[in-house]
Symmetry: D2
Subunit: 431 residues, 4 copies
């Protein structure tokens, strides 16, 4: 840009560009060692450049720039890049959920509210709930990336520059969609950092919910699932024992991801315009949050991909628990019994079953009829878990047909994310 | 919908609708008293409806619904509505900033980094930095609203419903763009609440920065601005004294807005699917956050609208502080002095001025020439603050021309927000 | 004090005191209505006093005081009082835990790490873990109370007062142990508020852990305990179903208690000396935190007091899970088998049991001997859960003897707290 | 202990102790390299020990221990040690404040409320406000240390151990005052970590207040103080410019210290007993919080020690601002004018001064008398800042006499802390 606008001679700009490309490839090849006392990466690069192409031309590199807009730029590029990478990992975890849902598409488990068995649902339906949660996380990161997609370069230290620069050209070269309209805002804005910390906090919240379920499902009492040994620690003495370490760790790491958000919100509080040294604190919390969330997603994707269901335990759980009690009431209402009356009858039936220690479907027709004259032989078909599940056929419901539709929606959604990733990948220095 | 799909007879649905409309107008007219022991608003409405149109038909109101999807719906409608209202208030505060910027479009103040005077900027430029901050807040709330714009109704308690409902029809009637694809997600999702708490937290962060500046500007030492008495407390004995109460209060209230976000993130942490009673805690923190932010915006808009600049103090601040020192170096470079040499010369000049206790522009030409032969009479024009400011003419810079362009961009932006507000206003029960 | 030091005439001070006592008894009798437009409680009291004993004398009430030290005083008195009340409630909950521990002193449950069954423990031992957690909360509140136990009165607005007041006398009258040594610190200090918010946050954290356990124990899969209906919501249709509402609510309320702490920490951040209006935000977060924690403690104490153990489910859980596997290794080691060898043998044994689907204690002696020659008939006694538990007899261990000692320690601790409460109760205006 | 109780032979225990001492001195001499794949420090030590004294005896090291109680022990030792170190640094910063207060014991500055000039105070008085804040921090850390002062060793994995260990003996050897009374609590307790994070958060809050003041005082508009170059960044071109980098950085770092507290509170939330892998997250947040706070204290102590006052600027600030207006009212009241009347008269006087642009003390006696007949020549003495300050002679007030008393109290307090530090220093492995 400096060459194109004539701020420095074309030849100089070309030598600068060539020099920087050489430095970059040496960096990538591991041939360059940065020095701590050069303060930051920019100073290191400029020093190395000076050693190679001479101080006079290398000195022009910093023309019309300031540390303030440069540091802001680096953080923007980092956020743009990491939004994409995190979305990619979210997509991978979604794909793992979808895969498990498809593999276990006919398994019925108890659906829980208050950790109490409520109604039978497809295991696939339960897993897909996470698919859609993560989709909102993707959307949030896409919004975050869009808002971060403005170049601060050219803002100078605070007030713009006296050189006739072309900010839009630089922005386009760097892959930005636009430029900050106000130089003071450009150097003192860290919203995009907080935006990403927020998106990460909600991802961590979601993962903590799933991990909690994994820990519960892995307890001897539930035993709903089995995990690959790679994600657990065991005991050679007690081979049945498996601590779901990864799930616990990720649940615990929610803390640091929330903490990083609080860090940066606190930094922002009450700090006047424009740049203040306080903002130097934006780096570690962002890096830690990004690393933590990305690693959590990566390893959970691996864990989910190999998660298997313990069919026997799951089935045992669906048999007891009166998951079909609601449907007995439905049955009676459809046969003309007023709702409140049906409701009471079912209360009596369940109480009777508890006394007898057997599930509803094991009652004889006579036992049923003690609680209502409308019961007929079709009640047994009506009470089968498959029937119960199949009847919840409203849009987004748990019936196999409704869930099949979700599969299709989920696959389309994955494809859209892939297309977005193709369009928004980090373009800097890519040919 | 229940009538349209034949789940209940048309006549019944019409009597329900008419009954509900009557209840609504009585509520709006203040003729209805809710009872605490009816537990929540739905139960109250159903009770009143029963008293009016009879238990039998009123009892059909709850067909194919559950408390779980109903409560989720209420929160969605609240968030959709409040996003719009908050955006409207953000727009009002933006307009106030723009107005002050236009009124004081030629006032120059010191631009600060590290609360140290750095370079002269237009006061208008400084104020507009807040305009663009708030614009990101608007964008964030628009994203939040878009993600919240899915109807959970029809998810039932957890698994969908056995009735042949039309979820999309209900969603459209209620003004939603779509429906949740998964019933379990629909009843256990509170992301949209957290989304709004996050957007609010960043608004509060922004306001805290501005309020900090107001407090500093109102100190005797700065005295840059004057506020209307309505937003301060004074002292009859010391009429010169004005505590910038509103600014301090809003700065302090950042705490509760951040706190509300932390509240809900904590609630979410580690809670298994689906609905858990913990989620009842989503209400107070959201209501408090929304109220706090909206009232802060409302009152600050009033305060900014009447804010006046103390021209004398501002001018005094720009005279000292060597805000034009950078431009002396520029001057020398343009006359051929190598950058580093120019830089050193200016260091000498400023040191000399400090000794003599006078600003650069009061030096004689001879004094200038002690530090460099290139100085000529045009240096005085070059050092005028107006010239210094005018030279920072890069896009987004502080020159009057660049700031004028910002005015235009800002006005267009306001118009776009207004158009968005027209399209997205809360449509429920509006004719 | 004003009378005693001669700042105002004795007669005036006596009339003020008598007037204030009258106002107080009228307030306590509900005969006084405060007016909002009188701004705060002090202004209301002064107005009422003026109406009763005349403006001239009532006007002397405020001599040598300022709003700043007065408001600080109120908050101090509130914290001193509430520390005591919260400690009293913590003690009540401790007593409930101790009582349940004593009632179920011989019940064995699986002890969990990673929510995996690890070793058998007494249910009493598990409950007492909470006793000691709460004891640290009591200690923390006692520290908090001690640090808050300084009177700010006499600090004036910021710099002290020109009247010859006796601050120590006032402090003693109000029940304080001492006075703030620095007037600027006295009016700008809100540490004692944050101290209490911190103590509350850790209480809430502890309660969230216990509530999580209650929710898990109440699941059908665990079924370890039963709760009184008063603390659950049920379903008339599904009488077996009980949502542990209170436990979920208290777990959820952890959010707001953490949030209140974050609120006040944010308020404090970066605010210069001395009093700033921001500090007005100290009230709602403190009141809400105190109310939430006190109500949580109160209701949980009720819930714990009536909690019963489902002996059958608990026993079933201890039989499977190989809780005694560690003790087989111990057995072998004591009979001379090297540790590592014993360890491997047990791994083989457990694997064999898993194949055969039976617990270790159901193996025949021959089966045992396939894995080691040292097994003899005494292995069966050695493997009994009671023996296993009893052997963990180290100080603080789970053996009945060690737990009995804990009972004694716990009872002594309760007595100490009671003694502390007697000494530190809120003494203001008590005769 | 293992030897003393006969759990292992005396000779073995002696060889273990000697072996460990050798390893320790090699570690201290930098002769030992830990291996990552040995998992943690204990495994490394045990491996090295095995290589040196043989597997058989080294294997006995872990007798009657578990990873769970061992890790808890390490964290306890760390907290005990770091409480002392942080207290030592707090004391150093207090001493620096006290020194500056003594050096500038006669300098008068405006005392601020709402960042508005309120009443004149001694600069020493202002600085000592921080002395007492930090003293509360010391007290808080002492409480924290006292609560952390219980040994968890002997709790085993969860339930205690079957070996006849002597927990109290081990505790005493390690420098603890007592032992955990409950093994389950011992392995799942991280309160002491949160306790220290809380104490650190309040320290950070205090430092952020002081740093904010430094930033404000360093602005050109205030210019109250000068800092040594070591704690600022300057500009060779603008030698007058000094960015108070350290103060800004420490203010910013409040964020991460608050964030670390939120991290660990979140980790704790809703995690059942006993040990869960989540707790592994206790380390990084604690280490970061401790390092950040200690380094902040260390560098601030250096900065404060060299802080100088810009007498001219400070004096200019005390002349304007009507800091003595309250004392004019006092003067009139003492001469018999009713309070309200005096108050109004002063309002008139200040208004008149504002019009005339001069301070109260520059009015002629005639001008004074236009607002009240009681004024006499002694008003000028009465209005001198020294007199005004001297009159605020109540305990803890700003008069030189009262502040002198504070000096004495402060010195005594420092001596008490030193005595405490001597008694509570980290005793492990010290001869």
């Amino acid at each position: 840009m400096l060459g194109a606008t004539g701020i420095i001679p074309r030849e100089d700009s070309e030598r600068l560009i060539q020099g920087l490309r050489d430095v970059l490839s040496d960096v990538e090849a591991g041939r360059i060692e940065f020095r701590l006392h050069d303060e930051d990466v920019h100073m290191n690069v400029e020093r190395i450049l000076s050693e190679r192409i001479g101080k006079e031309i290398a000195g022009k590199l910093h023309t019309a720039r300031s540390r303030n807009d440069q540091v802001a730029l680096d953080m923007h590029l980092f956020v743009l890049d990491q939004c994409g990478r995190t979305i990619d990992l979210l997509r991978t975890l979604q794909a793992a959920f979808l895969n498990r849902a498809e593999v276990y598409s006919s398994v019925i488990i108890p659906g829980y509210t208050h950790l109490q068995r409520a109604q039978p649902v497809l295991f696939a339906h339960h897993l897909l709930a996470y698919f859609w949660m993560l989709q909102r996380d993707i959307d949030r990161l896409q919004s975050c990336r869009r808002r971060a997609d403005l170049s601060p370069l050219g803002a100078g230290a605070i007030a713009g520059t006296t050189f006739p620069i072309d900010r839009q050209m630089v922005a386009t070269e760097l892959g930005f969609s636009g430029i900050y309209p106000n130089s003071m805002d450009a150097v003192s804005d860290r919203d995009f950092v907080i935006d990403m910390l927020m998106a990460n906090a909600l991802i961590a919240g979601h993962l903590s919910r799933f991990c909690e379920e994994v820990v519960i499902w892995m307890s001897s009492e539930f035993s709903f699932i089995r995990l690959s040994d790679a994600f657990c620690t065991g005991s050679s003495m007690m081979p049945q024992k498996k601590n779901p370490d990864l799930a616990e760790l990720v649940r615990g790491k929610t803390g640091r991801v929330y903490g990083s958000l609080m860090t940066m919100l606190t930094v922002l509080k009450g700090v006047p315009l424009t740049y203040n040294k306080d903002f130097q604190e934006d780096k570690e919390c962002l890096f830690d949050s990004v690393d933590t969330v990305q690693q959590s997603l990566f390893h959970l994707a691996g864990m989910v991909a190999k998660l298997t269901v313990d069919g026997k335990s799951v089935q045992r759980a669906t048999v007891s628990g009166f998951l079909n009690a609601t449907d007995v009431a439905d049955y009676m209402v459809r046969k003309g019994v007023p709702f409140r009356e049906a409701h009471e009858a079912v209360g009596g039936l369940v109480g009777y079953c508890l006394e007898q220690d057997k599930p509803l479907e094991h009652l004889t027709l006579e036992e049923f009829r003690q609680f209502g004259a409308v019961f007929e032989a079709d009640i047994y078909e009506h009470l089968k878990l498959e029937t119960v599940v199949g009847r919840r056929n409203s849009a987004g419901g748990t019936s196999p047909a409704a869930v099949k539709l979700q599969f299709t929606q989920a696959r389309e959604t994955l494809a859209q994310t892939e297309a977005w990733l193709d369009q928004n990948k980090f373009r800097l220095f890519e040919e």
